[in-house]
C-alpha cells in the first residue's frame, strides 16, 4: 500500500517532466514513434507551461488532501481502516502544496518575500491559498510521533484549510466549471461528514 501511494505520488511530477522534455528536440525516431502511438496530446510541450505546472501541482495537492480527509469517514462509516497511511497522504498533500506555492513564489513573485506578502494582502485568493499552505506546513512539521500527540488538536485546522483551499480554487477561476464544482463539492461533503460526527 505504501509503495502504491509513493508510486501514485510521483506520477504528476513525472508527467510534468515528460511534458517539459518536449521543449528539447527529441531524436527523430523517438519523436516519430511517440507521435504515431501516443498522439499529439501526450507528446507535446504545454501551450502555457507556467499555468500547466501550477495547475497540476495545485490539483494534486487537493487530491491528496481529499484522500487524507477520506480516511476517517472510511473508518467510521465503512469500517475500512487506512489510518496508518493518513500521515503519508497528508505529507504528500503538503509536498504538492509546497511545490505549488514555491512555484508561484519563484514564477510570480520573483522570489521576493515582500512581493509575495503584498500579493497575499492585495488578492484574497492568494491570501486563502497561502493561509491554507501555512496550516498544512504547521501540520507537516508537527506530524512526527512525539510532537503529534501535543499538536493533535491543532490538526483539526485541516478543515479550515479545506475551506480556504475551496475558496482559493474557486476564486482563481474565471468561470466555475464542472471539475472545480466536483472538487469543492467533495471537500465540503467531507467537512459536513466531520461536523455530523461530532
Amino acid at each position: 500500500m505504501r509503495k502504491i501511494i509513493w508510486f501514485v505520488a510521483f506520477l504528476p511530477i513525472l508527467y510534468i517532466l515528460y511534458k517539459l522534455s518536449w521543449g528539447f528536440e527529441y531524436p527523430r525516431y523517438v519523436a516519430g514513434f511517440i507521435y504515431e502511438h501516443g498522439g499529439s496530446v501526450l507528446g507535446k510541450f504545454p501551450n502555457d507551461p507556467l499555468k500547466f505546472i501550477a495547475d497540476l501541482l495545485g490539483i494534486t495537492a487537493i487530491q491528496f488532501l481529499i484522500a487524507t480527509l477520506t480516511v476517517t469517514p472510511l473508518k467510521s462509516y465503512l469500517k475500512i481502516n487506512l489510518i496508518k497511511y493518513r500521515r503519508l497522504l497528508g505529507l504528500w498533500s503538503f509536498t504538492y502544496a509546497f511545490m505549488h506555492s514555491l512555484f508561484f513564489f519563484i514564477a510570480d513573485n520573483e522570489g521576493n518575500v515582500s512581493l509575495m506578502i503584498e500579493d497575499a494582502y492585495k488578492r484574497p485568493f492568494v491570501f486563502f491559498g497561502l493561509s491554507a499552505f501555512l496550516i498544512l506546513f504547521m501540520m507537516a512539521i508537527t506530524s512526527h510521533k512525539k510532537l503529534f500527540s501535543k499538536f493533535v488538536k491543532w490538526h483539526k485546522l485541516v478543515y479550515l484549510a479545506a475551506v480556504f483551499i475551496s475558496l482559493h480554487y474557486i476564486m482563481s477561476q474565471k468561470v466555475v466549471g464542472l471539475d472545480v464544482a466536483v472538487y469543492v463539492g467533495v471537500l465540503v461533503g467531507l467537512l459536513v461528514l466531520r461536523l455530523l460526527k461530532r
Binding site: R28, G32, F33, N47, D119, G177
Partner: protein
C-alpha cells in the same frame, strides 16, 4: 531613386519548392523516421503539417509584419470559446459542429443602409490583408497571430454611418446545434448566450480594428471563430468576439457579455493596461504561449501610439 537590381543570390518565384512537393517530401521523411531509418537528428514535426482551411488571397501589410508569430499549433489548440467548452484544449476538439458556410452578417441599427453581407462575398471581394498582431488574454497569457482580414471601418462605411452612430454591438451566432454549450447556460456556470461585445464608434473605425477571416494564410479554424471574427489588438482577447452574425449600430452604449457577468472585474473598454490590475490578479506581466518566462505587458498591448488618443482625458483606472 531606389533601383532594385536582382542580386546573384536572389531567387525568382519558380525556384520555390511547390507546397505539395514540400509536404510529400516531409511526410516521406516522417515515415522514414518512424521506421528508424532516421539518424539522431533533431526533427521539427511542426514543419510536416500543412495548415488546414481554404487558401485566401491577400496582401501583406508591411506595417504589421515585424513580430514573430506564435506556432500555428499553439494558436489553434489554446482557445477560449465557451460555446464549446470551458477548457482551453476543448474548442479544438469540439468545434467540428460549427458550419461556417453558408454564413452572413446582418448589419442593423443606426446606419444609412442596413444590409446583409454574405461570407463568400467577403472572401472574394473585400480588401483582405495580413497583419501580425499581439493578442493578450485577460487571464495573463499572450500570443502573436498572423491574421488575415479587412478593416472594420470598410464594412461600416459601406453601411453608412450617421450622426447617431455612436456604438457598435457584435453578436456571436446563436445556434445550439452548432454551439452545444449555448444550451447548457447557467448550469455549472457557463456565461449567458448569445455572446455579445461592443466598441465605441471611434474604436470601431480605428484602422487597427480588423474583421478577421483567416490566419496563417488560410480561412479561420473553427475553434478560432470561423468564419469571421473581430480582432481588436489593444484590448483583452475577450473583446475580439468570434463567429459573428450580427452587427448592430446604436446611439447608446452597447452590452458586453463579460461586463454583464461581472462588472467589477471586466469593464466595457477592457484595454490592455499593465497598471490596472484585474481585481484577482496583476496584469503587469504576461505568459507568451510556449515560453517559460513571463514578459512585461505593454500599455495598450504595444499599440499606444495608434490608440492612446482615443482615451484622452479618461481615467483608465475607473473606465477600465
Amino acid at each position: 531613386m531606389n533601383i532594385l537590381k536582382a542580386k546573384s543570390w536572389d531567387m525568382n518565384e519558380n525556384c520555390v519548392t511547390d507546397e505539395k512537393v514540400y509536404n510529400e517530401r516531409r511526410s516521406l521523411m516522417k515515415i522514414a523516421a518512424i521506421a528508424g531509418a532516421g539518424a539522431m537528428m533533431p526533427l521539427s514535426l511542426e514543419a510536416a503539417k500543412t495548415y488546414p482551411g481554404k487558401a485566401l488571397s491577400f496582401n501583406k501589410n508591411k506595417d504589421f509584419l515585424n513580430l514573430t508569430a506564435t506556432d500555428y499549433d499553439k494558436i489553434t489548440t489554446y482557445n477560449n470559446f465557451y460555446e464549446f467548452s470551458l477548457s482551453k484544449d476543448g474548442p479544438a476538439k469540439l468545434a467540428h459542429t460549427l458550419e461556417p458556410e453558408p454564413w452572413s452578417i446582418e448589419i442593423t441599427g443606426e446606419v444609412e443602409k442596413p444590409m446583409v453581407v454574405d461570407i463568400a462575398k467577403i472572401l472574394a471581394e473585400y480588401p483582405l490583408e495580413e497583419r501580425t498582431y499581439r493578442f493578450r488574454c485577460v487571464e495573463g497569457w499572450s500570443m502573436v497571430v498572423p491574421w488575415i482580414g479587412f478593416e472594420l471601418s470598410y464594412l461600416l462605411k459601406k453601411a453608412g454611418l450617421t450622426s447617431k452612430s455612436k456604438f457598435v454591438q457584435f453578436q456571436t451566432k446563436y445556434d445550439p446545434k452548432m454551439f452545444p454549450e449555448q444550451d447548457k447556460e447557467g448550469f455549472f456556470g457557463n456565461i449567458p448566450f448569445p455572446y455579445v461585445e461592443g466598441l465605441r464608434i471611434d474604436e470601431a473605425m480605428n484602422p487597427l480594428t480588423l474583421m478577421s477571416v483567416g490566419l496563417y494564410g488560410k480561412t479561420l479554424p473553427k475553434q478560432n471563430g470561423a468564419p469571421i471574427r473581430l480582432v481588436v489588438p489593444w484590448k483583452y482577447g475577450f473583446k475580439s468576439i468570434k463567429s459573428i452574425t450580427k452587427i448592430h449600430i446604436s446611439s447608446s452604449m452597447t452590452r458586453s457579455t463579460w461586463n454583464e457577468v461581472n462588472p467589477r472585474e471586466y469593464g466595457f473598454y477592457s484595454n490592455v493596461n499593465p497598471d490596472v490590475s484585474h481585481p484577482r490578479w496583476s496584469q503587469a506581466k504576461e505568459r507568451p504561449l510556449g515560453a517559460f518566462f513571463k514578459q512585461k505587458t505593454e500599455m495598450f498591448n504595444g499599440y499606444e501610439t495608434e490608440v492612446a488618443s482615443l482615451y484622452k482625458g479618461m481615467d483608465l483606472k475607473k473606465q477600465f
